[in-house]
């Protein structure tokens, strides 16, 4: 992408990108901590997830504010316009990922009174690995506007959905067999659900990347306007 005649404009867009990456970095930390806290029943680590939330919210506000200013002052068009809209939407998705991480942290506090299950939350660990990879890949793809990487993330979402279904099935069986741990099982499903939602958000962000690069809205195929 060649430079704008206005260097000021270029530096504004660059600073916007940096804000998004900074926000992404924080949210990624929230996710990693929350997921690890859950599978190890580490309530101390879960608490760290909440402390990051204020920073994430602050960055989201700053991101929106800068986008609105650029739109008002520069009247961006074409790819610039698509980029700004997508950055704003990606900010919203990242903030939601942070919320889901907080949910997982709360689940951690509830399961901590139980023993860690024999399988060591293998299903959750599997889902966690995929969504962390999706999130880091989509952030990286956004920074480099990498179409292939974006499509990789979109495709990976199906694996997360499968992972959720597997956790769900396994826990229903567990509830039948050992009703002492119903609460733990419920919290585990909710955690799996949160991870599944995080996968959706990572996929959304990747769809915005496709929109920036190709100008094509790939969300909701089949409902395209004629």
């Amino acid at each position: 992408m060649s430079r704008h005649i206005s260097e000021q404009y270029d530096s504004e867009l660059e600073s916007l990108n940096r804000l998004l990456m900074e926000m992404g970095g924080l949210v990624e930390r929230q996710l990693r901590s929350a997921a690890r806290a859950f599978v190890t029943h580490d309530t101390g680590l879960a608490a760290e997830v909440f402390t990051l939330e204020t920073d994430v919210n602050r960055l989201e506000l700053a991101l929106d504010d800068e986008c609105v200013h650029i739109i008002a002052r520069r009247q961006p068009a074409a790819r610039d316009l698509r980029l700004l809209i997508s950055i704003m939407k990606a900010g919203t998705d990242l903030e939601r990922v942070g919320d889901e991480a907080c949910k997982i942290a709360r689940m951690t506090e509830q399961v901590a009174t139980f023993p860690i299950p024999d399988n060591g939350y293998i299903g959750i660990q599997h889902m966690r690995d995929i969504v962390i990879r999706m999130l880091t890949t989509t952030l990286d793809a956004f920074a480099r506007l990498d179409l292939d990487a974006a499509y990789e993330v979109i495709a990976a979402d199906a694996e997360v959905d499968d992972g959720f279904a597997a956790v769900d099935r396994a826990l229903l069986r567990e509830i039948d067999e050992q009703s002492d741990f119903v609460q733990r099982a419920v919290n585990t499903v909710w955690t799996a659900r949160a991870l599944e939602r995080i996968g959706d958000h990572a996929k959304n962000i990747s769809e915005y990347i496709v929109y920036v690069i190709r100008g094509r809205d790939v969300r909701h195929p089949g409902s395209a306007r004629s």
Binding site: I5, D157, R216
Partner: protein, 283 residues
């Protein structure tokens, strides 16, 4: 959800992106419109220096088509080809063809005066005659024979109303037009152009000398006239092109780089050159 990867490269948003469809249901591509002016392989040189090369495009009927591009790219030259105003310049050579509603306007024997009545033009600087408001509008009508006084009055009133100027000048029709404000004078020029009931209005930077409010008035007028007339407008103000036009043509160094529906051009142009120009980048 599995995502099928269909990615035939640099395709237009017009077909399947959020840009699809015009604002008020206007079809998304000029090819699907009724043609008004068809420019085919048009080249023009001034004293041997090329100014337009092999330009082909179809200007749809009763739509607003904007021409954008850097200074000197040939926008005014192209506009002047559409009513043969370039004929008045020495050393001009034109090849290719321009048809108006199917008639070749460069054919031998074409009545150029009649052509210019059918294809009216308004320039950047309003150029009223040092006469009354009324006479400025009636000017073109007087060249046509057999118009009765009462009909003349009606046509002047109708033209001034169409140009959204009537309310401001109804009490000063016999005063000199030179005392109108710049924005009023420009609307007077539009009234003069539409008084003779043209098919096409060519506007060459009609608002570039006006303040923002007068500019918005002219833009609103263009939008309204677009329902009745075929309008081609040259503008340096890209936001203006985006606001007023249905279709946008981007010219660069005498060549037509891209022509398509305005939503698509401003959201997702097909050509890198267009993208660079529209977003203010170095080409």
């Amino acid at each position: 959800m599995a995502t099928e990867r269909k990615d035939p490269g640099n395709d237009r948003a017009a077909s399947d992106g959020p840009a699809a469809g015009g604002v008020d249901g206007a079809p998304a591509s000029p090819e699907r419109e009724t043609p008004c002016l068809e420019v085919r392989d048009l080249s023009l040189s001034y004293g041997g220096v090329p100014a337009l090369s092999h330009v082909s495009l179809t200007i749809p009927r009763r739509r607003v088509t904007a021409f954008i591009g850097p200074s000197g790219c040939g926008k005014s030259t192209l506009l002047r080809c559409l009513n043969r105003l370039n004929d008045l310049i020495d050393g001009v050579r034109v090849s290719g063809s321009v048809t108006l509603n199917g008639m070749d306007i460069y054919r031998r024997g074409v009545d150029v005066a009649d052509l210019r009545r059918r294809v009216g033009m308004v320039f950047q600087q309003p150029n009223p005659f040092p006469k009354s408001v009324y006479e400025n509008v009636a000017y073109g009508l007087r060249l046509q024979r057999g118009i009765a006084r009462s009909e003349m009055d009606d046509r002047v009133e109708w033209s001034l109303k169409s140009a959204a100027l009537w309310d401001e000048v109804r009490d000063r029709l016999n005063e000199t037009a030179l005392e109108l404000s710049g924005g009023q004078q420009q609307r007077l020029m539009i009234a003069r152009a539409i008084a003779v009931r043209p098919d096409v209005l060519l506007l060459d930077e009609p608002a570039s000398a006006l303040d923002p409010i007068s500019t918005l008035r002219i833009e609103e007028l263009i939008h309204q006239l677009g329902a009745e007339y075929t309008i081609a407008i040259v503008t340096h103000n890209m936001q203006q092109a985006a606001r007023v036009s249905d279709y946008t043509a981007f010219l660069y160094m005498g060549e037509l780089v891209e022509f398509g529906n305005t939503d698509g051009m401003f959201l997702n142009p097909a050509k890198q050159q267009t993208e660079d120009y529209i977003t203010g980048r170095y080409g």
